[in-house]
């Protein structure tokens, strides 16, 4: 079956898109077939993988409204084995348009189930890049996923939002998706030189223990330069510390998959 991972955190700017792009790239480089589903109307994951605005006429919005299947919307990227269902601003309208629709919380799940029934199109992973909110688009991702990868910026406000996110995951597990679990929390923009990073890391590891990945993603300017070239940092600069970290993160994700 397809493994679906939601990359979610309602706190803004914590590294959701960067993690979706680079974890997806590293999993594809390790031989997995990966679909990145961009469910954020900002469309940053689509941009970060080089999908031009003009090439997004069929994508996440059409899939959620039932006007297209996922396999009809797959855009190729510069990474072999990684394709994208792109997002555009229309997606922001889906929240209202679907508010009275049947199975509004399961639109993504139903679309991924249909993809799974076609052995030639079936990927190993679907990663879903979520917007910074806990509304219908993120709920669709949590209802479709078996695991949530939570990027956590090593900052105080990001830590404050974590308990709210864990409560929401509990609620979704209790109502929409009994299989849902926190796959792991990954510390991002980790800066070993600051006390704040040390404090946040110590706090999170003491509360969540093994749920926190060993791998941390270091703050590294090459990461923020890469999107302007439409490339994952793994392609833009595979020698930098953050690229190495995302490769190690993919290895940990695969280990957790095998153990599951």
């Amino acid at each position: 079956p397809i493994r679906v991972l939601a990359i979610a955190n309602q706190k803004g700017g914590v590294g959701k898109t960067t993690t979706a792009i680079n974890l997806g790239t590293a999993l594809a480089a390790a031989g997995s077939k990966v679909v990145l589903f961009d469910i954020d109307p900002q469309g940053n994951a689509s941009t970060g993988l080089g999908i031009a605005r003009a090439d997004r006429s069929v994508g996440a919005y059409q899939v959620l409204l039932g006007e297209a299947r996922i396999d009809q919307c797959l855009a190729r990227t510069s990474v072999p084995g990684l394709s994208v269902v792109a997002a555009d601003p229309d997606l922001a309208g889906a929240e209202i348009e679907l508010s009275q629709a049947p199975r509004r919380n399961f639109r993504l799940r139903d679309a991924i189930d249909a993809l799974g029934r076609d052995p030639t199109a079936r990927p190993d992973f679907v990663l879903v890049d979520c917007p910074p909110s806990l509304t219908l688009l993120t709920i669709n991702a949590l209802a479709a996923a078996q695991g949530v990868v939570v990027p956590l910026q090593c900052e105080f406000f990001a830590l404050e939002g974590l308990s709210q996110l864990l409560r929401t995951i509990e609620l979704v597990r209790g109502s929409l998706n009994p299989n849902l679990d926190v796959h792991g929390v990954v510390l991002t923009m980790h800066d070993r030189r600051t006390n704040l990073t040390e404090q946040v890391e110590a706090d999170v590891r003491s509360h969540l223990g093994a749920k926190v990945f060993d791998t941390v993603i270091p703050r590294n300017v090459r990461v923020s330069e890469a999107p302007s070239f439409g490339k994952p940092v793994l392609l833009y600069d595979h020698t930098c510390a953050a690229s190495d970290a995302y490769i190690r993160l993919a290895r940990e994700v695969l280990q957790r998959e095998r153990a599951a």
Copy 2:
């Protein structure tokens, strides 16, 4: 009349809350009477000004639902002249609860108009800290404001979202609030050492010219340490470069006010 400024940008983590807290503090230090209205369910502005979770039983949610007036919800802060209408997670429910309510887009505006009719309670400024989305809560802020202060992180993804935000401001000006205008764009987490910052700054100043504040806010770890003490960086470390920048930003805001 009360000057209402919305601190808005749907891109996450660009410095909206940090700007709302520290611009509010600097305006109060300069002698203005300021109310910070936290309309983000994350409640980071409330936390960053030291409002305990237990003290938020009456706040932004009650005001929007019409159950309380603003002057009944004002919480004092450690900054003379600055008070807060706090936010808590209930606020996330307001989007759904108000979706069929009368004047749902003008709830904040009506509450601020009522505050203005009481000469003893009337502040000089109301700053509204918005969530990272363009849904009903942010629309309420844009419908109530005369100006939008747009924090813009010096990063590629943040630049990508700017045109979407400017289009939304146009739409609100055309339908809900003919007085609305971009008060100014402030560059945040500005790091003079990186090419990316230089490129983003050059790009924004060439497109938006005088709309961009001269003052830029430098990246400075003291800023991200301050919220864990419930204090604005201006109180936590008034000597650091970011504190000085927020004081200069307040001066520019006041100059633009006099010129308006």
